[in-house]
């Protein structure tokens, strides 16, 4: 292994945030890959560490996107329901 190869980012913090705040399955797969980044790097397998880093990034990113989409969709539904209730207020 070349000495100057930078440690790939392990996305552990992002995985923990995703686990705590929304889509646990994605967060837990992120944590598994974070573990892989560290151990592969330590074992001298730079390519393996980089691949695990990319995996971790993908899973945490999707967890974040899906969590955010969920919040936006729920917010939108409440908005629509609110407007519908306001609109029908005179029909009772």
């Amino acid at each position: 292994m070349e000495e100057n190869q930078k440690k790939p980012k392990n996305y552990l913090v992002e995985s923990i945030l995703v686990t705590i705040f929304c889509c646990l399955i994605f967060g837990i797969i992120g944590i598994v890959n974070a573990a892989k980044v560290n151990s592969e790097y330590e074992a001298g397998n730079y390519e393996g560490a980089l691949a695990a880093s990319k995996q971790a990034k993908t899973w945490t990113l999707w967890g974040f996107i899906i969590g955010l989409a969920g919040v936006v969709i729920v917010g939108f539904l409440y908005l629509v329901m609110g407007i519908a209730i306001l609109g029908s207020a005179g029909d009772f």
Binding site: L12, I16, F21, I31, V74
Partner: protein, 133 residues
């Protein structure tokens, strides 16, 4: 350069908005807060369940309540702040302090704790029921 000044500034805006929302609104009193999709589908608590109420308690400095809603909330926040602190310190000072979250053992321990917590908090009798949100 994850923690450039620009990134910190950009991230601080949504974080501040979130903190304000969770300070002024209690997730227990308003049903427009997002629900845990895993709990809604399965009826089983996930490791993140209770974290919105935990955040509400935290911004009111009620640390005991924070831990009772989600026992891992404060340790998780600790990891986030530790990583932020050590990364920014290393960048500003030019030093290379060891960031322990890059040790091989660290994410494995995190994984084991999260999985244990997930299992234990779903056991519906004392003392495990105290881990439920």
């Amino acid at each position: 350069m994850t923690f450039s000044k620009k990134n910190i500034l950009l991230a601080s805006i949504p974080v501040a908005i979130l903190l304000l929302v969770y300070f002024f609104y209690n997730p227990e009193d308003f049903d427009w807060f997002p629900k845990c999709p895993f709990y809604s589908l399965t009826g089983v608590y996930c490791p993140g369940c209770g974290s919105q109420r935990a955040l509400h308690s935290l911004v009111h400095l009620e640390f005991g309540k924070t831990a009772s809603y989600n026992f891992l909330f404060l340790p998780a926040l600790g990891v986030v702040l530790y990583n932020f602190g050590i990364t920014v310190f290393n960048e500003l000072s030019g030093k290379q302090l060891t960031n322990y979250i890059y040790k091989p053992i660290f994410p494995k321990v995190v994984l084991i704790i999260v999985l244990l917590f997930w299992g234990l908090r779903n056991i519906p009798f004392s003392p495990f029921c105290y881990l439920a949100p």
